[in-house]
Every structure is written in C-alpha cells, then in structure tokens.
Symmetry: C2
Subunit: 251 residues, 2 copies
C-alpha cells in the first residue's frame, strides 16, 4: 500500500527582492525541521519576487511587433513586449492568447509573464531566470540552515492543449527525479511497458496545488511519501521534462 500526503505552510507573507526563500521556508516549518525524504514545492511567484524577476511596465517601450500583436489580441502592448522579451518563439497568437516557448524551453501562455500576483503597482512578474538553478540554490541553503536536504521544486500554473483549465507543473527541480523510467520493465502481466515514464514531478506539482487554496498566501507545500524519487544528488532538473522542439508533434 502506498501513500502520499501534502500540506501547505502558513505564515509566508509578502516576499520582496533579496529575500531568502529557504529561510522563509525553514521559519514557516519551525519548530519542525524538514526531512531529506520530503519534497518542498514552492510557487515560482515568491522565487521570482525574491530574485527581482519583475518588470515595471512604466519602463517598457513596446516595439512594432508588440504593438501589432497587442492590437490584434486586445492586450497591453507593453505586456506583449515583455512576453516577446521572454520568448524564444511565439507559437500561437489567437483568441487573446499568446502561447510561447521561453528561452529555457517552457511552452506556456504569455511565456510565464503574469500580471496577477505581481504585487502592488504597474508591474508584471516573470519566471525565474534559471528555475533549476534557483531550486538547487534553495536546496543548498535549506541544508545549510537545517541540516536536512529535502528535494526542492519550483512550480508554475500552465494551461494544456486539448483540455480546459490549468494544472501546476515543475519548472525547477533539485533532488527529485523528474520522471520514473519504466520503459522496458514488465507490467503486472509481465509485458514490457513500452513508453511509460510517469512525470512524477508534474504530478507532485499538481498535488501540491490541491493542498492550498488559490487566494491563500500559501506558496509553499511540503509533500511526504515521495522518498523513493528523492536523492542526495540534485539530478537533471525540470528541464529534462521538456520535449525537444524537433521531437514535438505539436510545434
């Protein structure tokens, strides 16, 4: 019999540039300490804020393409300019939605640029510059502060092709296997499971989001029960979850 449990941590208030996210997590857990078989899932919003991954729209000048896309999609052209700055490629621009591939290879609406949750003022929140590096840094700092090395995951909320609504996915990862590779192993009837690679990290991101309420200030969720996927090594990170563009059937 297997089991999984997740609980959100209260008490992480507004985060500002320069804040030590690991210290905030450790303080929210205290007097308990994290354990090295736990996963700490952190909404990217607080990581982005701590890293100063914010653009003030007053400082953004929309170029010709942003003006054109903004007019066509009924969006603030300065926000569109920020999306273009964050994008390697705009894949779709339809129905008021921009689907983009970011410079790190994530495919999502608006290249992860978020006008909600950016804090007060005329600003938009970006994704962390290198979310895997952010996760590794937070993990190392948690170890320093607490002596334990829980896995650390940074999450964002993505839409999907073909299905309505959003689920959280892993965009940064340290210490958790992004997926379990069952290719070639036998199923319950002894046949090889040909293409089975459960995306453990994305499922865990979804579980973390279910453990909190969207309007609560609970960006951090601790998950128990995934120890078999957690290692001392930081592992390949969440970038390993990205299908190379040339292998994708829906570019």
């Amino acid at each position: 019999m297997g089991s999984l449990s997740a609980r959100s941590l209260p008490g992480i208030a507004e985060v500002v540039p320069g804040d030590d996210v690991a210290a905030l997590v450790a303080a929210a857990l205290a007097p308990a300490l994290p354990r090295s078989d736990q996963l700490v899932a952190i909404a990217h919003t607080i990581v982005s804020k701590a890293e100063g991954a914010v653009r003030e729209l007053a400082t953004v000048e929309a170029g010709p393409r942003a003006l054109e896309l903004g007019a066509a999609q009924d969006k603030d052209p300065r926000v569109v300019q920020v999306v273009l700055d964050e994008s390697a490629e705009v894949m779709r621009a339809e129905r008021g939605v921009l689907i983009a591939r970011t410079h790190t290879g994530l495919v999502c609406a608006n290249a992860g640029v978020d006008a909600s949750n950016a804090g007060a003022g005329d600003a938009v929140l970006l994704l962390p510059r290198d979310p895997d590096a952010s996760a590794r840094r937070i993990r190392a700092r948690l170890r320093e502060l607490t002596g334990a090395s829980p896995a650390v995951m940074i999450t964002d909320t993505f839409g999907r092709a073909w299905r309505i609504g959003q689920t959280d996915v892993a965009i940064g990862l340290a210490g958790l296997m992004p997926f379990e590779d069952w290719r070639g192993r036998p199923d319950a009837d002894g046949r090889p499971l040909q293409a089975t690679m459960p995306a453990v990290a994305d499922a865990a991101a979804g579980a973390a989001d279910l453990a909190r309420s969207k309007d609560s200030r609970e960006p951090v969720v601790v998950i128990d029960g995934l120890g078999r996927f957690i290692g001392e090594d930081d592992g390949p990170g969440a970038l390993a979850l990205l299908r190379p563009r040339e292998e994708d059937l829906f570019p």
Copy 2:
C-alpha cells in the same frame, strides 16, 4: 493551512467482465467505510475489464488504412484498426505514435487502446464506452453498498504536448468538480484572476498515481482533503474538461 492525503488500496486482484467494481472497492476498504467527502480514484483498466471493453486481436481484420498506417508507423495493423475504430480523428501519425481524438473527445496516444495491462492473451484494452456514466454508476452502487457517496473518478495515463512523460488525468467523474472556476475572483492582491480555472480533477488524478507504484496491482486510491470540491450532485463529469475542437489552438 490546507492538506491532502492519498492512499492506495491493496487487495484488488484480477478483474473480469461482469465484476462489480464498486463491490471490489468496498471490500478493499472494509472494515472501514468510505466517506462522502472522499474521492475514490480508479484506474480505468479495471473498469474497462469489468465492462468487457477488450478486443481480441484474433477477431480484428485490418482494413486498408490500418495496413498503411501500421506499415508506416511499425505497428501491428490489427492494433491500428482497433485504434481507428475508437477514433473520431487521427491527429498525428509520426515517430511510431498515433495521436487520436476518441469518439468521446479525449485526445491521447492510440485513442486509449492499451496493449499493456490487457491481461493474458492476444487482446487489447479499450477505454470504457462512456467513462462519466461508468463513474456515476460506480458511485451510485457504492452508495447502495455502503450508505456513503464518495466522489468517483476514473483515470487514464496520458502523454502531453511539449513535455516528456505521462500524467494521469480524469476521464470519468461523478461528484467531483472537474475544475474550480476562479475567473473574475480577486487574487491575493485584489486583482481579478482572469483565466484561472484549476483543473482539480486532473491534479487529483496525478496525486492518486503518485500514491501507488506502477507495477503494483493497486488500481484504486482514496483521497482525503478535497471535500470542498465534492457534492451530492454528480456534476458535469470529466467531459467538461475537454476543450472543444474548434476552440483548440493545437488541433
């Protein structure tokens, strides 16, 4: 503080056509009874088997299109014929993968036709004919057997565009809200969350899958902590999670 917990139920052995899935779930839970604020997540494999949603390949004759696709994609043309029979539309046939839209509107590899986990013999497993109806039927039967009405979800394992690996999603649903509709509600800073509709059921399906191991015979997982999404009414079902084809940006 929010929390979520999931545990898989041991003791559900091989399922055969005509089996009463609700009775198997109730027996696996016993002596405990389910509660009406719980979600019972059931891998579609046992529902399909109980419903006899299986095709014996010996009885399948591949038509011209199945022969052609089978040769091009290096697949058994009889399996391809079954995929075609289950498909409203083949969306992609590349790299040995068929991505299809099923008659109920699900977009997935091989229209959900599964050669793994089909049981002994030369057979393939199909998706339940009407997974929402199956979920409603199992829920009603659980109520009959136990007096409680936990929500019931039927899951399958789907690949995704742009990301490697699979996650479980909800294909049938009774009593659980498929998503939470936050459109127009304010975020933590008071701004409206424009397009936010967390796909609660898909996240729960992912959480359920994390609570078991892939080669275990544990098709049923009970989830606590989602009571706020569970109602007496069966609700719109998992079909509500499907984006209409004409609104999809990646047809």
